[in-house]
Amino acid sequence: MNLEAIESEIEANVPGCRLVLIANPSPSGQHSLLLDAGHAMAVAIYLRDAASLRFDFCSNVTGIDWPAKELSEKVKVKKLVDGVEQEVEEVRKTTTPGSLEVVYHLFSIEKKLGPLVLRMSTGDRDANVHLPSLTPVWRSAELQEREIFDLFGVVFDGHPDLRRLLMWDEFQDHPMRRDYVDPDDYEYEPTAHDEVLRRANQHLSEGGGR
């Protein structure tokens, strides 16, 4: 299964879509295609119905959290110091905004092809978390997209029944996100260290035991 060939076939048949081939450096060789949210539905329908591809089996839908990363790099800049132009090292901080990613693994039952890996990314992790739902194309995405909504917070537009799957309805957080903090709880360990010891110290200073 040649991913470049599939990419060009999709680009030829779905006008306007923007695909990016993301190489996978691991020995598994499973490279993926990054879709843009606007044309994801059209690409999905084409992949499912095209006679040469027939990717009718959506096996796995995964959510991934990429938190915002701050990179600081030292840059040499020409600056005026005491009237003389000199090269000074300056620390520049760049923030790559975080995003939530949804990955689809597709297989073809008829042609015994796969896995074809598709990816979609949200704009950021707070306000811009909408992505089109591919449940109308592959029914197997129904429960898995609900789970991603529950645990990551991605809102899927066009999903027939988007509500929490695993956590209770009154739950507010999205627990699989990297910045989720567990509710505070007494922990007993025979040899406390790190986090448990820190929390035990905190409880002790706050008001002792019970």
């Binding site: 996978n24 450096p25 691991s26 020995p27 598994s28 499973q30 009718d56 089996f57 959506c58 096996s59 796995n60 995964t62 991934i64 990955v103 693994h105 039952i109 015994k112 896995p115 890996v117 592959w138 029914r139 197997s140 995405a141 129904e142 429960l143 898995q144 929490r164 799957l165 695993l166 956590m167 209770w168 627990p175 699989m176």
Partner: protein, 386 residues
């Protein structure tokens, strides 16, 4: 008798319309229920005995396996995979080991592959036998088929215990092979167990296959069409009972399944009876694979000597590895960022995805059929909720 076929006829019994509201009964089956295979809840709206709507509620066994795996090393997650589908711990280990081997490019020696096939097929045997036992118990056979199934399961668990040290939760696979080699005499004992299995299957078939009550309660019940099965991502014996010719052992050519001659049973009706029969026939094929594997197993190392155990850090990248577990397609999707812990660890749970069509299969049927249909889907809550 009213037969309501499919969602289109629901508008006549729309639960929101005022006239029919008083006639409808909403009940919760589960989470504590003798027939729900664990802590699973279904909010069923009934019109008399007929199901109008069925909404499953998940999450009662959500144990945060994926989150815990992000803070564990790769090998540290192996015992947790045992506890996913707790009826088949060894195949869960295998799927995870396969995914990591794809991620890191690890090869598995011959003898280890044969060992994996042997314990994997033994697991499949006891899973299918127990599933049929549980299905019968749910339908009212009050434990007798289950007793026979557990008798065989105990023999297989004894084999696992002498090989791995644990009855369930074997934690047997390692990246690049298996944890322990066969003790002396294990293969002979296993051959005796496998040789006795066709006799057990004959006994089972004699009790069950022509049983009128079973046929009445399961034929034409919960019919799953081939098209819906493929679209909903159904895999495993449930898909094959609907005519989808897809067995990952034959399609992906993983491990050494290409060396064994075995057939893949397919159903044509897609009802509960077909799912039950497919599993019975698969057990016979598994016995055949076991006989071939135990005859041909070579000597050699059981783990790839080049794999690092301590400080195992796969290169950054991702991999999706899947196997044909007794429940369906069990896959693991791993993303590595070069550290000892996976960045993202995802389990593709066959039981959860097979439940996508539960409402479609149950609407219009009786409440009693819901139990039979749920039993035939073969769910284990550890996998559904992870």
């Amino acid at each position: 008798m009213i037969t309501v076929a499919g969602p289109t006829a629901q508008s006549e019994l729309d639960p929101l319309s005022e006239t029919s509201k008083e006639q409808l009964l909403e009940i919760a089956m589960g989470p504590q229920h003798p027939s729900t295979h664990g802590v699973f809840r279904m909010n069923v709206v009934l019109d008399g005995e007929h199901v109008v709507r069925l909404k499953p509620v998940f999450g009662y066994l959500h144990r945060n396996h994926e989150k815990i795996a992000e803070s564990e090393t790769y090998l540290g997650s192996m015992p947790y995979t045992d506890r996913l589908d707790y009826m088949c711990p060894i195949t869960n280990n295998w799927a995870y080991a396969l995914a990591v081997e794809k991620l890191a490019g690890i090869q598995v020696p011959e003898r280890a592959e044969y060992l994996r096939v042997i314990v994997g097929e033994l697991t499949r045997l006891q899973n299918h036998a127990c599933l049929i036992g549980f299905l019968m118990q749910d339908m009212g056979a009050s434990g007798t088929p289950l007793m026979y199934a557990f008798r065989e399961r105990e023999k297989i668990l004894d084999l696992f215990e002498s090989l791995t040290g644990a009855r369930m939760m074997c934690n047997y696979m390692r990246f690049g092979g298996c944890r322990a080699d066969l003790p002396a005499g294990w293969l002979d004992r296993a051959k005796i167990v496998v040789a006795g299995f066709p006799g057990f299957l004959d006994e089972y078939e004699q009790l069950l296959v022509g049983n009128e009550i079973l046929m009445d309660r399961t034929q034409e019940v919960g019919v799953l069409s081939r098209q819906l099965a493929v679209s909903a991502g159904i895999s495993g014996p449930m898909a094959r009972a609907s005519g989808v010719d897809y067995d990952i052992r034959k399609v992906d050519h993983y491990s050494i399944y290409d060396r064994f001659a075995f057939r893949v049973p397919l159903g044509s009706h897609g009802d509960v009876y077909d799912r039950f029969m497919v599993r019975l026939l698969e057990m016979r094929e598994s016995v055949g694979i076991l006989e071939q594997a135990m005859r041909d197993i070579p000597a050699g190392p059981i783990v790839d000597p080049k794999t690092k155990i301590r400080g195992f850090r796969p290169k950054p990248g991702e991999a999706y590895g899947r196997i044909e577990s007794p429940k369906g397609e069990l896959g693991f999707y791993l993303i590595s960022d070069g550290s000892p812990n996976p960045y993202r660890y995802r389990v593709r749970p066959p039981s959860l995805i097979n439940l996508t069509v539960l409402e479609d299969l149950c609407v219009g049927r009786n409440v009693a059929d819901v139990v039979a249909i749920l039993g035939s889907i073969d769910i284990v809550l550890g996998e559904v909720d992870r």
